[in-house]
Symmetry: C3
Subunit: 215 residues, 3 copies
Amino acid sequence: MALDSIFQFFIPKDKKFFTLFDEQAANLVLIAKALNELVNTTNPERQKELEKEIERMEHVLDQCAHKIFLELGKTFITPFDREDIHRLTSSIDEIADYIHGASKRIGMYKIEKSTPTMIKMAELILQSTEELQKAINELRNLKNLRNITDACVRLNSIENHADDLYDAAVADLFDNEKDAIKLIKMKEVYSALETATDMAEDAANVLESIIVKTS
Amino acid sequence: MALDSIFQFFIPKDKKFFTLFDEQAANLVLIAKALNELVNTTNPERQKELEKEIERMEHVLDQCAHKIFLELGKTFITPFDREDIHRLTSSIDEIADYIHGASKRIGMYKIEKSTPTMIKMAELILQSTEELQKAINELRNLKNLRNITDACVRLNSIENHADDLYDAAVADLFDNEKDAIKLIKMKEVYSALETATDMAEDAANVLESIIVKTS
Amino acid sequence: MALDSIFQFFIPKDKKFFTLFDEQAANLVLIAKALNELVNTTNPERQKELEKEIERMEHVLDQCAHKIFLELGKTFITPFDREDIHRLTSSIDEIADYIHGASKRIGMYKIEKSTPTMIKMAELILQSTEELQKAINELRNLKNLRNITDACVRLNSIENHADDLYDAAVADLFDNEKDAIKLIKMKEVYSALETATDMAEDAANVLESIIVKTS
């Protein structure tokens, strides 16, 4: 058997990763869309439905990550460094966890009407997930590295924007909210939303390190 | 020297890991037992003693992790992937950290009588540590992979249960606790307890990835 | 080309890491010094300036970490395990993040006069960063491993000290601060300061594991 055919042998498994990454990224965009609908609805029944839907989607995303980790265990030759695959998958999984965390808190703390900051932050999260999806879809051929680096730049700037929104909203809470319990509730919701964009920035950092190694 | 004897050379060091893992797991069960006694006692002196005992045990567990990391640095051939050993040891160490964190908060916040949720969560933590110990003891021969996967399934379901308990207890706090400072105290204790089971689930994920690679 | 000259080829890149580590460590000391000035000033204008200065420095430290990660991606042979370089750089970056986080909270929560605990904790953070700098400067030749292990021992004891200060300050808050919102503010500032020393201990753990492998 020529060396060439030995490598052929690995290719099918290799390609599996891209399909799994794409699936994870697509589901991430879906959960971010559900979050946006959640913060924009004022119908309490629709709110409950969306909370359940986000919970269900978070399980789907857990399974996506799980499949990638299993594949990583079974595959000898991987398209990128094993550690990078692990980190990329974990950070995407954490974005979904924080989206789910924000949704859970909205329900648990009975926040019936979203603040403008919540709506804006959910929008930034959706943008993050769409940028990540674009970048991840490019991983398959790596022909347009520029598209990936551009997405990473935008992910960084989205995170900065979310950070500023968070700081302003929390400063405002401490200035104006006299009810400590309400303050805690809102602060925790903002914090979950902001951390989701942090995790997207982490994912961008992994993408950047993958690109450096292949270029 | 035949290749065989070269490998023989490494076996003694290799086996050391299992002894160290077993020691770490046994100490983890002990600290979880002390936590259970702590949340079930109403004697303030016994409470103080147990808090000190848990603090002492946490140092012992720190040393267990430290020994494994040192061994990892010195050993060229390890029984599992170095990263998996690092992650498994770290996550067990974090379970102990959160058990200690919960105990410290109980003392610091002068919580003299545990709530039913605290008692139930401590029980779930103990179950987690016992499942982990079973799974870790099986790592030595890997003859009964099924025992390990079964333990991992149970660890996941324990974590889900703890999650539900946490959500219900926190929702109840926000509904009924009008004293914000008391609310903060209780929420932090619940959060430390719940995170301990999260860390046990992390450990289960590492065990699963070890199994996938060896099967 | 002899094997020797192949390795020569890698040495220039190799040395780059030490320059980058030294740069990161030097900037870390600077941001810790700015934090100390911040908690010791009572001039509100100087406070604002220092908050901005710390924010700027945190970006510089981000870039330091970024340069190391890029170098890691481009370099085939590294002076230490890739994972250790990644962990060391990340933990130093996190120290800077928490220093910045503490400074942001001091500004956001309008804490005009630092408590003695804040001043003492900032001092411990500065000591941590100076110990880290000493240890990191020694990495270049590894002739005085003892200097590194001594620094690690001191980093551990600094962290324990900060931990005790944190516990005492938080217990005191819960005993004496009746205003829940003020309590939340102070607790968060203390928590950011204490976590900075935790991250320094993490960096010490990585340094220790680097030493074990080279000795």
